[in-house]
Symmetry: C2
Subunit: 366 residues, 2 copies
Amino acid sequence: MQETMRLAGLIQERIGATLTRHREALTPLGPDALPLLDEALGFLTGGKRFRAQFAVLGYRAVRELDIDGDVTPEYARILDAACALELFHAAALIHDDVIDRSDTRRGRPSVHRLFGALHRNAAWRGSADHFGLAGAILLGDLLQSWSDELMQSACDATEDRAAARRAREHFNRMRSEVAVGQYLDVLEEQQPTFADHEEQLERSTRVLVYKSAKYSVEAPLLIGAALAGASPETEEALADFGLPVGVAFQLRDDQLGVFGDPDITGKPIGDDLIEGKRTVLVTLARENLPATQRRIFDDLLGTDLDPEQVTILQRTIRESGAVERVEDMISRNVDRAIHALAGAPIHPDAAAQLTQLSERAARRDA
Amino acid sequence: MQETMRLAGLIQERIGATLTRHREALTPLGPDALPLLDEALGFLTGGKRFRAQFAVLGYRAVRELDIDGDVTPEYARILDAACALELFHAAALIHDDVIDRSDTRRGRPSVHRLFGALHRNAAWRGSADHFGLAGAILLGDLLQSWSDELMQSACDATEDRAAARRAREHFNRMRSEVAVGQYLDVLEEQQPTFADHEEQLERSTRVLVYKSAKYSVEAPLLIGAALAGASPETEEALADFGLPVGVAFQLRDDQLGVFGDPDITGKPIGDDLIEGKRTVLVTLARENLPATQRRIFDDLLGTDLDPEQVTILQRTIRESGAVERVEDMISRNVDRAIHALAGAPIHPDAAAQLTQLSERAARRDA
């Protein structure tokens, strides 16, 4: 826990330093650009930092690294890669919130809402909402570039060129897959009806794997490990661990998206139900509903639900037994992950920490 | 001209190969993702390829390269960097069109309109326009990542590490500056009134420099030159050439945005007037208008103009003398650029081609 706090502090510090550097570089563009940069820092404060932690532990699985020690050049290198993942994630979330029409994120207004408010408060001309959209798109683009710069600097500082190249390959694959996974997720919400159960489960699982499991856990681990010069066997073992942890991570997200406490998640109650997300949880819930109830369920999902309707859908999902099924899946995935670590060619203390972090990813309440 | 055709063909081929490679890599995500990839190729067919050409000529200013010859590893390297610029530009245009609410691009519907049409034709659920927005944001993000990958591969193939690092620095600065420049451009359109003439001209010029001049000409030249291992003196000479060419390029764009032939530009007539862009052309036009006429001008600008109103604004701009003033500025900038080339430490045949390309950038009709 001590180590986690130290790491979170270092990540925050480094993100702050990166943004300050960019702010200075952009001084010639004048003070009007400052709100864009201020929003960046605001958005990048806090967050759970799972991706950064998995990247650092991936590195540590291969090479000794004292997380509590001084920031040596070696430590700085993996911290840069970890921050690159956090910046990329921030960019993805900012664009996601536009796409999902989410008004809040981490308990504060989402970025497009903040830019919209800036417009409204200044009594500017034209549509405040559209200005909000523009600001969010551009800030996301900017953060995506800055993420990439940090990844470059991590790779440039890596003497082993093959290791740097492999780290970039994982990073590149991750970026492609998450954008396409997000597209498939949006596509699901547009379908007038659910597919047959088996097909729907396959589709929902595919979105879960690409948009979240690989992106949130497997890829960060592999990027960190590759930077440390991991062997193919070690990478394979980490992937065998990371994918099920990522699946558990997203299944927990599905549960929180329906039952999470808004004060803790920072998102509205029943968020996924209002957005009409066809998660694995929702798909499993529908399977066991009688036809009439299922029709009502389908009609409500993805509409502007009032709190009472949210409660009805929550109860329906709970009574369907889907919550227990998902909890079972989470446990099985965590078990499978931990099993994959046993005998994996990685540092024993990293294995212990990976086990701890996977439990936290699977059992969190926000 | 022969060489330009050859280069344009090679660029198109390489972009096609890049997209095919990504398409194959994304096969595990299933066929639903294909429209995203097909839109990418559709959008990346055609275009003027100024940025790619300036990058290749920047390289050639430093090192001999037979553009008509075989694609050697060295040639492939600069082609990768050139394609990276075209992919980045495509990503920026796709997001720009969302931000500017542009319905057409290069004579065909803009990407968000295409995704919207996909939704409408399939009679999906929810808002077709919002789906269009989501598709455009995600495709832009995807292309931004892929642009970056090509830039990586150009840099990885460069043995001179310092040269590769300098090329990346130019690329990174370009990406930051264009996003912030675009934000400042959007910000201008939100202001309820024009600033005083001098201040407005300064603001409009700042947007022109960062959003376009540096981005379209100076940065591509410097990226190409840096990859070839240019000395600081050569880079300085190319910047002294590139910035005024970029200014002339965008001033031409201002003219085309008001007076361009829609059949040639592929954009609606009077596009900039409808969008309310506060270009240098518009700012100069307002300077000499009598107060009453200026008020009418301001009231019309940035509204949903009918063709007759477009004609009125066009006539007002023409009669203000602003068109001649902008033409003078274009000529002066081209002269200054060509003057900067004389005596610059670059290959003489590259100088001749740079002169030609700068004339085309400044005198084009699309």
